[in-house]
């Protein structure tokens, strides 16, 4: 099937370095991580993270609805508002029956579930929230966005761990390509900075332990990389068929040229040792886009700063793209925003295409010996980029890759 060209006409982000797209871009380009100790994690083995800050989420969400939303839902609602406004669309005037909402998450409201479990245990059932279920289920970001925006087309929440955001973009593209909607609001959200999750990551061995300056702890592709630092946030985009966007005079930020997904079917946390399944996801995205590998001018890497991910991904990049396109890894600044990471990184890749600027990998002087990749370091690289890919590899072996193109 020849799929129609898909335009990304709106972008919204809320991340540990900024509560909108512009401040996030500035923060990522500045390459300084905001990782810091988090009071709510007092007493935990890992008591720090990169967190969304400087915003009263309840006031921002407002309208007597914040009480029924987990933090992950609030992030998504705010990012979706920014994205839709950025696209020049107004939910008050659109045909909501033609609008789809596809917003993924990995952990959903596990933090709120924990809160409610504690209330039940300590205070009894009468003290638990009547909104207790709504605070925890992973579809609520999509549902709350649909309610607020009167979007009555298909809606859902892809859940593929750390690749949920790219999966959401891929599903949204398919809904547009098959004519199931005319506008898709798509992205992902995550907020899992709470004691049980942080303790779990500590025990899994994937997380970095405190060691000096927290802002220097997330070091993707470095020889002395120490593991992942937790982040949180959301990114949401507006997708339309390019012909529809053009017809209404909307200027696309980028084109979604292709997507590819595979599953390691190997181990819950370890990447497949020879990397061929992840590579197949990259190759599927390139095939979908109709690109040769040597046409890719930039790679926005998954780059978690864990021992195994970065080794496997560096090997993959050097093998698939032997022409050594410049690589960045935003997790050096933002930490690992889990289910939201793929959407945030796709958003940053779009900004790279628009601005001809590739942000540096924070906390990196040079890639580890043996990593034959060209990482941008220290300062942003100013270079026109027409074609770029963003990699996402999730716990469980969910690999998803998106190919993005300058219009």
């Amino acid at each position: 099937m020849r799929t129609p060209a898909i335009a990304i006409t709106g972008l919204g982000m809320i991340t540990p370095v900024g509560n909108d797209t512009e401040s996030t871009w500035d923060g990522v380009c500045a390459a300084v991580s905001p990782a810091r100790t988090v009071p709510a994690l007092e007493g935990c083995v890992i008591d720090f993270a990169c967190v969304v800050d400087g915003i009263d989420l309840d006031a921002a969400v407002g309208r007597r609805t914040a009480f029924r939303m987990g933090r992950y839902v609030k992030f998504a609602v705010l990012a979706a508002r920014e994205a839709v406004a950025d696209a020049g669309l107004d939910p008050a005037g659109w045909d909501g029956s033609r609008v789809a909402v596809v917003v993924g998450t990995s952990s959903g409201g596990s933090a709120q579930l924990t809160d409610q479990a504690l209330v039940l245990e300590r205070r009894g059932p009468e003290a638990t929230s009547p909104a207790g279920v709504l605070l925890t289920i992973p579809n609520m970001p999509a549902a709350e966005i649909a309610i607020e925006m009167r979007a009555t087309g298909p809606s859902m929440a892809p859940c593929t761990a750390c690749s949920s955001g790219v999966t959401a973009l891929s599903v949204a593209r398919d809904l547009l390509a098959t004519g199931q909607c005319d506008v898709a609001v798509a992205g992902a959200t995550e907020s899992t900075v709470f004691p049980i999750a942080m303790t779990g990551f500590a025990r899994s061995g994937a997380a970095a332990r405190a060691d000096g300056d927290l802002s220097r702890l997330s070091r993707p592709f470095a020889a002395d990389r120490a593991g992942l630092v937790m982040g949180e946030g959301a990114a949401v985009m507006v997708l339309e068929r390019a012909a529809d966007a053009e017809a209404r005079g909307a200027e696309p930020r980028a084109l979604l040229a292709g997507t590819g997904a595979t599953t390691d079917a190997h181990h819950p946390t370890s990447p497949h040792p020879d990397g061929r399944i992840a590579r197949a996801a990259v190759e599927a995205a390139l095939r979908d886009a109709g690109w040769r590998a040597d046409e890719v001018e930039h790679v926005n890497a998954h780059g978690t700063a864990t021992e195994r991910n970065d080794a496997a991904e560096a090997a993959l990049i050097s093998r698939v793209y032997p022409h050594r396109p410049p690589v960045t890894a935003p997790k050096g600044v933002l930490g690992h925003c889990m289910g939201a990471a793929g959407a945030i990184e796709a958003g940053l890749t779009i900004l790279t295409l628009q601005r001809g600027v590739i942000p540096p990998v924070a906390n990196l002087d040079a890639p580890a010996p043996g990593f034959d990749i060209d990482c941008v370091t220290k300062v942003p690289l100013v270079r026109p980029v027409r074609r770029a890919v963003s990699h996402s590899f999730g716990f469980g072996g969910h690999n998803a890759v998106v190919a993005l193109q300058r219009p």
Binding site: D58, R63, R64, T65, A66, T128, P130, A131
Partner: protein, 86 residues
């Protein structure tokens, strides 16, 4: 002149982001645009913060905040003084 227990104002403005200017003695859940889920949550938060007995019969969609204030004073849960000087 009837007044509103400050704990009611506090919960409505902090948890539900109802503008303080709209919180009047004659206000009801309906007039404050609090739907049934919000009203149920309001009852739980109020019960947990004041210790007062509150059930769905006490807090209906049409209950005024003045009436709710009287109820809190009457039940004065946790033995905490609800104060007549307000």
């Amino acid at each position: 002149m009837s007044t509103i227990d400050p704990r009611i104002t506090d919960v409505l403005s902090r948890t539900f982001k109802v503008p303080v200017a709209e919180i009047l003695p004659e206000s009801t859940m309906d007039s404050l645009d609090m739907d049934s889920l919000a009203a149920a949550e309001f009852a739980v938060v109020l019960r947990e913060t004041t210790g007062a007995e509150l059930d769905t019969g006490t807090l209906t969609r049409g209950t005024t905040l003045a009436r709710l204030t009287e109820h809190l004073r009457a039940s004065a849960g946790d033995g905490s003084p609800v104060g007549t000087a307000r």
